[in-house]
Amino acid sequence: MSRTSGRALRAALAGAAVLLMAGCSGALGGGSGGAGTDTDTLTLGLSRQLTSLDPGSSGSIDGDATVQGAIFSSLTKIGPDQKLVGDLATSWRQDSDVQWTFVLRDGVKFSNGDPLDAATVKWNFDRLLDPATKLTSGPALRAIIARVDAPDAHTVVVTTKKPYLDLDERLSTTTFTEQKWVESHNPVLEPLGSGPYQLQSVDLENGATLVRNPNYYGDRPYYDKVAFKVLGTEAARVQALQSGSVDAAIQLDPQSLTQFAGSDRYTTGSQWSSWNMTLRINETKPPLQDPRVRQALNYAVDKKTIASSLLGPDIQPSSGQVLNAPYDQVNPDLQAYPHDPAKARQLLAEAGYPNGLDLELALSTGTYIASDPIAQAIAQQLGEVGIRIKVTTAQFPSWVQRSYTDDVADLIYIGYSSGYRAPAERLRIYTSTYSQSHFSDPAYDALVDQLTTATSREQQTNLLDRATQEFHDNPHVVFLWPQPLTWAVNKNLDWVPRPEHWLLPQDFRPKNAD
């Protein structure tokens, strides 16, 4: 090789090497601490990509809400035992049907040392209630809350628009940040809170690293450092567990759990959760406007077999309502529609469809446990009564987007979880004014409106029973089952599963630690 071309080649190679090293240092410098290798670090697997760490954004509990739950604090919170306790608020009382007073803890500081007082709380509410913001938690609160005042540094007074019995629990997911911080930082990626942890780094697609907040007022969490890893697919979760790179993960397919049955590393489990699965029905299509067709759908699906074989032997079908015991208060008089294909066929014939019909069932990829086999099984069972199902799959965003339009598939497999147990909020999801509802049922809507503004527990229970009965008899969904909470957790860790799907780092401690 001539000297010049030799030099050129060497220069090119050297350039490539430099680039490579720059790339390496960039990539390797970004995150430190390999998962599972550092004993001081707790590594937790999340199922959903993060969208925003802004406390004003409502997020998925098995995603950003969990991270937010480690970084922020709220007025009240729900413990692992489902009891409502104070967090920032030491006490609270309902002054009248529409007014609540919360008394704040003393000396609360953000992780940067700035104080958090009643004025901070008021500013946060004002930010959420401001119709000009894009914050996704805002609209729902605007429907309930009229105004928030801070008469002094320790007192927050919330005035609701109408009576709202469950405000204290409703506010357990409303968290707070600092005005000065938000004005100088991007709260989506740089949150400032007062919770047990503070953010070290975040990558919305892949996870976040948290370290302990030195200024935290509550019990000191056991782990100094927490790595959340986004494991967006079943396969990723299983592989991460198999290679031992996470300490805990939830939302596993029950069939995957069996792989860890004999594991010397993980304990696995499955239990009821707050998540209620149904097939929502698009009633803008004529055949589905007939209640007999919707009842036929309910009779045709063998919920028991599917739930026990695909979701776990202990999972029982929902009892003909969109609520599950023991998480929700339920209507004890209601039963699940029995699996009765003959009845389904008869109802279809009565409705004028003796030869069945063709329907589309839309799935969101990987959002719900075992959704693909479940959809295939449902399709097969509906096929047996003459309802021919075409299953379509889309990525969650486009699937969700379509669910808001009247062009939504005839059936969608969907579930709703909640961080709090306000019964009205649970039922409101199925009123005809809800953005994903495509039907009209004024009677049911009216019942839920009354339920929302109930002023006593008796009245609330009464209205809840009437509303669920109404919804059962004239179903706008196919009642299915509660999605189980499944988990695999390092054998050495102590942890109480939470039905809401929280995977909070402050809940974990080693087995032998006191």
């Binding site: 080649l9 990539a27 430190s32 390999g34 991007n186 989506v188 919305l204 892949n206 290679s243 987007q401």
Partner: protein
């Protein structure tokens, strides 16, 4: 026999008979004009890609819907839509967007509320690390196998490495990735399955990508070595009595590199594409993963930034390959 075949008299000045008038493409590749031309082509390519993706995304729906909470009151969607300007006519949106791109004032990512370029820049090192490692590893493996395939005396050594690479190349990346994860992460537990951050995380995805590069590089290198070894000037070199190894190194290998470079240019594109699947499979925090996620989230400022950077990357890699090839060939130098 070609050796004694009469050489036709040299072509006279002018285009080859019958061919439509065509100038050789690479005349003075190192001139500023050439580089500028290539960059202009790159810009046109990027613009075309940009336009295609912009309208495809626009047609898929209103990204504002993803910003609105599920329990938002009626009217909220319209409000956000108007706020973000998604209700304007497509061409107006395109013009606005293009204008902002040209002035360098890109609209923020919808999901991150940040400049998409900053986000892309953050992911770029990881992607470059993976891509370059895969490319280098693949090139080295391929070159070694190709060299052995052309020169090894033992038939086993001559055939085995190349056959192995060819066989691996027939395994789809996603399937190879799964198999690698199964063997190394699950059974042997020697390497992590997913994620980025450490050198150990780099091994499996880089290997998956390298296989895509190695087989074609190996095959081309071997063929080129064998072809060049038959050329007259190699015979001349042999006639000088220098050692066979020196003939191979000085006269054969250097002259066999250009086709390999060409293949590398094409394979670089495959690596960029393959990285999308590979990054998804291995949870590698790179550009491929970011672009898929941005696409799923209808975060089209970010999608456009990703796609454009990937396209620019491809064009730059090819430009680099062309320039390197030109540098290696003195006929292109003056």
């Amino acid at each position: 026999m070609t050796v004694t075949r009469h050489e036709p008299s040299p072509l006279e000045v002018g285009p080859p008979p019958g061919a439509p008038a065509r100038r050789p493409r690479r005349r003075a590749p190192l001139s500023a004009r050439y580089v500028a031309g290539r960059l202009a082509t790159a810009l046109v390519a990027v613009w075309a890609v940009f336009t295609l993706v912009f309208f495809s995304l626009l047609a898929t729906g209103n990204p504002a819907q993803l910003l609105v909470a599920p329990d938002a009151p009626p009217g909220e969607l319209e409000r956000i839509t108007a706020l973000m300007g998604f209700d304007r006519p497509p061409l107006e949106q395109y013009a606005t967007f293009l204008g902002r791109v040209v002035t360098g004032d890109l609209p923020d990512s919808i999901r991150y509320d940040e400049s998409p370029l900053a986000l892309v820049a953050e992911r770029l090192p990881a992607s470059i690390t993976l891509g370059l490692t895969g490319l280098l590893l693949g090139t080295l493996l391929g070159a070694a196998a190709g060299y052995l395939g052309a020169t090894a005396r033992r038939p086993l050594l001559r055939r085995l490495p190349l056959s192995l690479l060819t066989a691996l190349d027939a395994i789809p990346s996603f399937f190879l990735g799964i198999l690698l994860i199964f063997v190394f992460a699950i059974v042997l537990r020697s390497l992590p399955a997913t994620g980025g951050g450490t050198l150990a995380h780099l091994v499996l995805p880089a290997l998956t990508l390298a296989v895509v590069v190695a087989a074609p590089v190996g095959r081309i290198f071997r063929t080129a070595l064998l072809d060049v070894a038959e050329l007259d000037h190699v015979r001349t070199a042999r006639s000088k009595g220098i050692a066979p190894a020196a003939v191979t190194a000085r006269h054969v290998v250097a002259n066999a590199l250009p086709p390999v470079l060409n293949v590398l240019g094409v394979q670089a594109g495959m690596v960029l594409g393959g990285a999308i699947v590979t990054e998804a499979l291995f949870g590698w925090p790179g550009l491929g993963q970011l672009s898929v996620s941005a696409l799923n989230n209808r975060d089209y400022p970010l999608v456009l930034a990703c796609v454009c950077v990937i396209a620019i990357g491809f064009v730059l890699v090819n430009l680099a390959v062309d320039l390197l090839a030109a540098l290696l060939d003195p006929r292109n130098r003056r």
